[in-house]
C-alpha cells in the first residue's frame, strides 16, 4: 500500500506484524523512533538483519521511559543481553508488550519479570522493597517499608512460602482494577 519504504522487506514487515501487536504503520513509526535515538548507529536498511544495539543510556532517555522509575528494569528485561542494550527486535518487543493491545496475561508475565529484581523467578522481600523504594523515592521509613512488604506478601502469597511466585502474582494482578498497562 501507498508509500514505498526500503527499510524492511515485505516479509520482514509481515513477520513483525505477526509477532507484535502493531500494524505496518506503527512498526515503521517505531523504527523511526528507534533510529532517532541514534541516527549514526542505526542503518536505514534492515533487510540484511544488521546487528545493531543501542546502549541503555539512549533507551532510557526516551520520553516514554524517562520518568519511569522502573526504566532500567524494563530495559533489562526486554533486552537480549540483560543489560538494557537493545536491538530493534527487543525494542519492538518491548513496545508490543507495553502497548494496549497486549493481553493481560502477557503483561502480567513481563510485569513480574520487571519487578523481579534479582531474577530468581520469585518476588521476595528484597524485590518488594526495591519496588517500593523506587515508587516512593525512598520517602518511607524503614519500618513502613517493611510493614508494606509484609502486607503485600501476606495478601498475595497463596502458597505461603514467604515470597510471590508467578502464579501468585498473576492471580493477584489480573484482578486489579488498575492493571491496564
Amino acid at each position: 500500500m501507498g508509500n514505498k519504504q526500503t527499510i524492511f522487506t515485505a516479509q520482514q514487515l509481515d513477520a513483525y506484524q505477526d509477532c507484535t501487536y502493531f500494524t505496518r504503520k506503527e512498526i515503521l513509526r517505531l523504527f523511526d523512533r528507534y533510529r532517532d535515538l541514534a541516527p549514526q548507529l542505526v542503518p536505514l536498511d534492515y533487510t540484511s538483519h544488521p546487528d545493531v544495539k543501542l546502549p541503555y543510556e539512549l533507551i532510557g532517555s526516551m520520553p516514554e521511559l524517562k520518568d519511569n522509575p522502573f526504566r532500567q528494569r524494563i530495559a533489562e528485561v526486554f533486552s537480549e543481553d540483560g543489560e538494557g542494550n537493545m536491538t530493534l527486535d527487543d525494542f519492538l518487543d518491548m513496545f508490543s508488550v507495553l502497548s494496549e493491545m497486549a493481553p493481560r496475561d502477557l503483561k502480567a508475565f513481563y510485569a513480574f519479570k520487571i519487578y523481579d529484581f534479582n531474577d530468581d523467578d520469585f518476588l521476595c522481600k528484597s524485590d518488594l522493597e526495591k519496588t517500593l523504594n523506587k515508587l516512593t523515592r525512598n520517602e518511607l521509613t524503614e519500618d513502613e517499608v517493611r510493614m508494606v512488604c509484609e502486607k503485600v506478601i501476606d495478601e498475595a502469597d497463596l502458597d505461603n512460602d514467604g515470597r510471590l511466585s508467578l502464579e501468585d502474582f498473576q492471580q493477584m494482578i489480573v484482578r486489579a482494577p488498575d492493571f491496564l498497562r
Binding site: M1, D14, D18, C19, T23, R24, K25, E26, E64, K66, D67, N68, P69, F70, E80, T87, D89, A102, P103, D105, L106, F109, A111, F117, N118, D119, D120, D121, F122, C124, K125, S126, L128, K130, T131, L132, L135, T136, R137, L140, E144, M147, V148, E150, K151, I153, D154, E155, A156, D157, N160, D161, G162, M172, I173, A176, P177, D178, F179, R181
Partner: protein, 863 residues
Amino acid sequence: MTTRTRARTKLPRGNEEEERRRPRRKKEAKLRTVMRTAMREKGRREAGREEEGKEGRRRRTRRVRRGTPRGRTKERTKERTRGRTRMMTRTRRRRRRKRTTGRRQEVNFSSDSGSDSDEEESMSEGEMARLMEEVEEKKKLIATIRNKPWRMKRRLTHLREAQEFVDKFEGALGKGKGQEVKWIKFQRDFENFRTACIPWERKIKDVESHFGSSVASYFIFLRWMYGMNLVLFGFTFGLVVIPEVLMGLPYGSIPRKTVPRAEQPTAQDYSVLTDFNGFCKYSVLFYGYYNDQRTIGLLKFRLPLSYLMVGIGSFGYSLMVVIRTTPTSGGGDGDEGEFTFAWKMFTSWDYLIGNAETADNKYASITTSFKESIVDEQENQKDENIHLRRFLRVLANVMILCSLGGSGYLIYFVVKRSQEFANRDDLSWYEKNELELIMSLLGLVCPPLFETIAELEDYHPRIALKWQLGRIFALFLGNLYTFLFALFDEVNNKLVEEQSIKNASIWAMKEYYANFTRLSNDSEATPPPMDPSDVIRGPCWETAVGIEFVKLTVSDIQVTYLTILIGDFARAVIVRFLNYCWCWDLEAGFPSYGEFDISGNVLGLVFNQGMIWMGAFYAPGLVGINVLRLLSSMYYQCWAVMATNVPHERVFKASKSNNFYMGLLLLILFLSLLPVVYTIMTLPPSYDCGPFSGRAKMFDVIMETIDLDLPAFMGTLFSYAANPGLIIPAVLLMVLAIYYLNSVSEAYQNSNMELKKKMQMARDEEKNRRNNTDSTNQVMKDLEDLLPNRSLAPPTRNTPRGASVSSLSLPTKTKPGKGVNLQKDVALASPNPNAQRPVVSRPPGPRGAGPGRGRGRGGAPPS
C-alpha cells in the same frame, strides 16, 4: 512443548538442504505425480516391496478423486510444493537410503503415537489427518505467536518455521490455501486501514502522557461522541435534509418556505440571523420548512415518513450504541481490601506518564497513598477516626443536598416570576434576563462549592470525581427541566394562538379570493394564487422549539470556548509573563495555572448531547452544528490542555470512568427521550408547517403508509398487533422476563460470593496447615469471637500466627485488608517446624541488585 516444536521443525530444514542438492529440473514436476510417488514410496517402505504395485494403483485412484480441488490451486501451490516435489520425486533408492530417518521423524512428530503398524490404507488416512492437525496447530501458533513471552528473535524463527511448514504441507493436503492467504492478507490490510482511520490517536496519546489517563479518558469520550454524532448526522442529512434540498419545492414556492413580508426587510440582518430568525428560520435547518407532500421528486421519496423514522431511528441507534459500549461486566470493581497493598505496589504507577512534572506528582501521590494506607492499617481499630470521617461525609452530603435544594427552589421561584413578567411590557434589563442570569450564576458558583464541600469527605480522587459528577449532574438537571417546562408553557400558548390564527388565515384566504372576483368582475377567471409571503400563518411551535435548542447549543459553544480562552489561556499567559514583575510567585502561589476540569467538561459534553437528542427532531440542522462543534472542540481543547493546563495534583488513573460517563449518557438519553416522545405522541402538529401538517398526530404518517402503500393484510396485521389485548400480555411478559433475569443474576451473584468465600477459606486453611498451628488457632479464634471488644474486625479475621523465630522478617499472617495486630505475631504458638523457615529466618538486610545474589536464598530454582 518446546522440544516437540523443535523436533517438528527439523523437517523443513532438511528439505532446504536437499533443495540445494537437487537439480533444478525437478521444479516442473506435477503435483499429482508427486503425491502418487510419495505415497507409493511410503507404502513400499512400510508394507513391503511385493505390495507396491497394487498399493500404488489404489492410491492413485484415491488421489484422482481428491485431486480435483487441488488441481484448481495448482498454479498457486506449485511454488509452495516445490520443496516437497523435489523431496519426493527423487529416485527411490536414494531416498530410501538417505531419507528414512527424516521420514520417520516426520511420522513421529506428526503423530505422537506414531503407530506404523496399521494397515496401509488407514495409515495414510491417519497420516493425512495428523498432518492436517499439525498444520492447524502451526497455524494456531502463527496466530498466537505474539502472545508468547519469548524473545523477538525466537519468535521470528518460530514464525518462519511454522510458516514454512504450513506452506509446504497445506498445499499438499489439498486446501484452498491461496484463498486463505489472500484472506489473511486482506484482513491485515483492513486492520491496518482501520487503525489508520482512528482519528486523533496521537493527539490523545500525547495528552495521556502529560496528564495521565483520567484527562485522556475525556478526550476518548469526546472522540466516541464524535463518531456517534457522525452517524446521526449521516442519517439526518442523507435521508431528510438532502432529499428535501434536491427534490423538494424550492424556497419561496409556498408560505412555509418563505419569509413573511413583515419580516423581509430585516431577514438578512446579522443580529436577526444570529438569533436564527429571518432566513435561518425558513431554511432546511428547521422543522417548519419541510412540506407535507406524501412523496417528493421523481423517486417518490416519502419525506414525512422518512422524517419521522429518522427521528425515532436516531434515538434507537443512540440507545443501542450507548448500551453496547457500556461494559456489561458491572460490579467487577474488584474485591476491595483484599489486595490493597499489593495492588498499590504493583499497579499504581501509570506507565503512560512521560512528563517530569506529572511523574513528580505521581511519586508524591503514591507516597501519600502508601502513607495513608499504613495509617489506616495501623489505626483501623481506632473508632473515633472512622466516626469522624463518617460524620464529615454525612455532613458534606447534607450540605450539598441543602445547596441543591436551595438552587432548585431558586430556579422554581425565578421561573414563576418570569411567567409573571411575561405578561408585562415595562421590564428592566435585569428583569428580562433574570432567568438566564440566575442559571449561569448557579452553574458558576455551585460546582466549586461542591468541590470545596467534597474535600470534607476525603475520598480517593477517582471516587470524588464520580460524586462530583453526580452532584453537578443533579444541578444541571434542574436547569434542563426548568428550561423544558418553560418551553412547554410556550408551546401550549402557541397551540392556543394557533387555533385562532388558523381561522383567521382561512378567512383571509377566502376574503382574498372574494375580493379578487369582486374586483375583476370576472367570475370565470381563476384568481392568481396569493403571494406566499402574504399568507397569514400560525406560530409553528415546532420551529420555535427547534430554534430554542439551536440557540442554546450555540450559546453553550460560545460560553465553553470563551471560558477556555479566558479562564485557561488568559490566566496562563498572565501567570507566565507577569511572573517576572510580581511581588509573589504567581506560578507556585495563588493564581497558578488551571487544571483540566474533567467533571465539568464531561458533563458539558453529556448535556450538550442531551440537547442534541431533544432538539434534533425539530431542527435537523442541529446535528450538523453539533458535529462541527465536537470536531472543533477536539482540536481546540487538545491545544488548550497542552498549552495552558497543568497536571492534576493527585494524578489518578481513569479505570472504568468511561463506564460512568456512559451511565450518565444513558440517563440523559432517557431523560431527553421523554419530552420528544411526549410531543410526538400527544401534541397536534402545526397546521401549516412541517412534514406532518394537516394530520391530527405526527405518527399518523405511519398509519397512512400502512393503509396506502403496504398490502392490505399488513394493515390488518398491524391492527391486530396494536390491539390492547395483545400489547398488555406482551408488556406483562417483558416484566416477567426482567424479573426472572434479575433473580437469576442475583442468584449468580450469590454463588459468586459463596465461591469467593470458599476460596478464602481454602486459602486460610492452606496457611494454617502449613504452619501446623491449626489447633491452637482454632481455640484462639473461638476465644476471639467471644470477646466483645473486637467490634470492628470481622470474626475470625485475626489469625495469630506462630513461627516467631524472627518477628522482623516473618510476614504477619493476618487476613488481608483487615487490622494487623502486630503484637500477636509473636509467639502464640510453638515454633514452626516448617520447611520455609530458612527462607524467612534471615533478617532482611540490604541486598545488592545483582542477579546472582538472591538466587541462593531458600533454594529458589535458578531462572
